[in-house]
């Protein structure tokens, strides 16, 4: 909006003239901005967590059973299916993955459900899915039977402090050979990486040589979609690109758990709070200066000029509210990190929130704008 500097000055001074009202307006917008950023950031954080294993893989295609609803609770199939997928034309490489739950023995004798991720660790071959962000120990040792990798964020839950710790998973001996950072499961069960053969030994009840996913790397020069279609033609199997698989998992957790609706409802409530506070402040300010606005209109000021002054006040409120609210959200993110909660604040989220804030404040100014548009300039003669 092109507005002469003097109009901005007028808008700013009108806002600042009543300091208390100005502080309330900025506080309202700031709380709104913070709520939107934190709630949407938390949602994206949860979703990032839900799809982190998929997103971290180097596969082009994930193949699972057609009947699978959820990534974590996938139905296993046997190894013959793996060979069928591996022999599809255009498949350069296929890795087996087994994901399921098993009981992790705690030092105090208790058990804790853990999400076991068994990956293909053929020596000399970089796996399509492997532990990442390794901060302690040696993840290469996963090739050795009984080796496991856990995340540092789970040390309190698992009572494990360093690699070298010996424990049992489903009664089978396991040694922590490495630790990662920031790998957590949406289900809140600790993720335990291991070799697929070890994983199978942790889950003897799944039958012979179970697999839940086949990860596919497509041969160079071959269309991913073409290979995906060929795999989909195989009976009982569904092939998704890594991006599709990631979105599918996010959608599952977002819709099935209601987590998306919950976070977005709170974010919308934040916007409503900001809208009401800014609307009320702008309207009371407009009423306070209604005779002055009427005088300007009487003297020939166009409606658009007066409306611009009110909109400018709304935009100043939006900008300052964002400047205060965004650091508050960053502070909340830091505070929540201690509670193992991820608030994913991206530049895109900041940009979208800034736009939402500006739109919210502009809409909040509507009542004031209608008031001055309807203001009869002759009313200034009626003392």
């Amino acid at each position: 909006m092109l507005l002469p500097r003097r109009m901005w000055t007028l808008a700013r001074k009108l806002l600042l003239h009543d300091r208390l009202r100005f502080i309330v307006a900025i506080a309202g917008v700031s709380v709104s901005v913070m709520l939107v950023l934190v709630q949407v950031g938390l949602y994206f954080g949860f979703m990032d967590t839900a799809s982190s294993l998929i997103d971290a893989s180097k596969a082009d295609i994930w193949v699972g059973k057609k009947s699978n609803d959820s990534f974590e609770f996938a139905t296993p199939f046997d190894e013959r299916t793996y060979y069928k997928v591996a022999s599809v034309e255009g498949v350069d490489r296929a890795d087996r993955v087994l994901i399921n739950f098993a009981q992790f023995k705690l030092p105090d004798g208790g058990d804790l459900g853990a999400q076991i991720v068994g990956v293909d660790t053929t020596p000399g071959k970089a796996p399509l899915l492997a532990p990442w962000n390794v901060v302690e120990g040696d993840a290469q040792r996963l090739t050795q039977p009984g080796s496991i990798v856990i995340d540092k964020s789970e040390v309190e839950k698992l009572h494990i402090e360093h690699p070298g710790h010996i424990t049992e998973v489903s009664g089978v001996r396991a040694e922590v050979v490495a630790m990662t950072s920031g790998i957590r499961s949406f289900t809140t069960s600790p993720i335990v990486f291991t070799d697929i053969r070890t994983a199978r030994s942790f889950m003897p009840n799944l039958g012979a040589d179970p697999i839940t996913y086949v990860l596919v790397k497509v041969a160079e020069g071959t269309e991913v979609a073409t290979v995906q279609a060929r795999i989909n033609a195989l009976p009982h199997l569904a092939a998704y690109t890594t991006k599709q698989m990631s979105m599918r998992t996010r959608d599952y957790w977002s819709s099935r758990t209601g987590v998306g609706a919950g976070f977005f409802t709170t974010a919308v409530l934040g916007i409503i709070v900001g809208f009401v506070v800014v609307g009320q402040i702008l309207y009371s300010g407009t009423l306070q200066y209604i005779r002055e606005y009427g005088t300007l209109k009487a003297m020939g000021a166009k409606n658009s000029a007066v409306v611009k002054v009110i909109l400018s006040q709304a935009m100043i409120s939006a900008a300052l509210g964002f400047v205060v609210g965004a650091p508050l959200a960053m502070g909340m993110r830091a505070a929540m990190k201690g509670a193992n909660l991820t608030v994913a604040l991206s530049p895109e989220l900041y940009a979208v929130t800034l736009v939402i804030t500006a739109v919210m404040c502009a809409f909040a100014a509507l009542l004031s704008i209608v008031k001055v548009l309807r203001l009869d300039p002759a009313s200034v003669f009626k003392a």
Binding site: P4, R6, L10, L14, R291, L296, A305, A378, V380, A383
Partner: protein, 248 residues
């Protein structure tokens, strides 16, 4: 003198040479319809001339405010003609009126209506900019006008730090922004003590005499008549008389 009743056909066209800046011809204003109709003003005819101070006097509810509201293009008459810039503007739509008002009128009110958050200079400069967004130097023009009304030393003060008379001078400077030929005042001295009221009226008189402006002031105060050239007496919605003021 009884107001002329003839319609515009009886009048020669407006011209700068004659000094007539605005003309009301057979103006009427009725509020409501049917049995509820109330005639606030009937058959009012009046010329506004450059260099003249015209007082409009009359009891409350007589139609004074309606008369200057129509003259200032703030109210549309239900009958008659309003001639400004050589054209009858009585039937013009709301879109055309702000520009006409900005070019032709400055308004001064009893309550000053200054933005309390802005200094005297900012109040005047902002009004200049609002009237004409393309104004070259609103601040420089505002300074000049504030010096003209004797407020140069107080131009950086907020209205709260100014006396009533000083505030009204700021309002007059604001009304002069854009150099309109007609100043319309609605009881501009009513909120002021006698001495201040007279000094404000003296200023308006000077603006008419020296700058060739027309000044039209609604007042209840007969002491102001000594600054006027004519007194228009309004009663029961009619211009009862237009009396020239004879100065000793």
């Amino acid at each position: 003198m009884t107001a002329a009743l003839a319609l515009s056909e009886s009048f020669p066209p407006l011209s700068a040479a004659q000094g007539t800046l605005a003309r009301l011809v057979g103006i009427g204003k009725t509020y409501g319809t049917g049995e509820n109709a109330v005639a606030a003003l009937s058959n009012a005819t009046l010329d506004i001339r450059a260099g003249e101070v015209t007082l409009i006097e009359g009891p409350s509810g007589s139609g004074k405010t309606t008369l200057i509201s129509i003259l200032g293009l703030l109210l549309t008459p239900t009958a008659g003609e309003v001639w400004i810039e050589g054209q009858n503007v009585a039937g013009l739509g709301e879109r055309a009126l702000p520009g006409l008002r900005a070019r032709n009128f400055g308004f001064v009110f009893q309550g000053f209506n200054l933005f309390p958050a802005l200094t005297a200079l900012e109040n005047v400069a902002m009004a200049i900019q609002m009237k004409d967004p393309k104004a070259k130097s609103p601040k420089g023009e505002a300074k000049r006008l504030l010096e003209l009304v004797g407020l140069g030393p107080r131009m950086h003060h907020l209205p709260a730090d100014l006396s009533g008379g000083q505030k009204q001078r700021v309002a007059i400077a604001r009304a002069l922004g854009g150099n309109p030929p007609i100043l319309v005042g609605d009881e501009p001295t009513a909120a002021l003590d006698t001495k201040t009221a007279l000094s404000v009226m003296e200023l308006l008189r000077e603006l008419a005499s020296n700058a060739g402006r027309a000044v039209v002031v609604v007042t209840h105060d007969p002491r102001l008549e000594r600054f006027a050239d004519r007194v228009v007496r309004v009663e029961d919605g009619l211009i009862q008389a237009i009396d020239p003021v004879v100065h000793a």
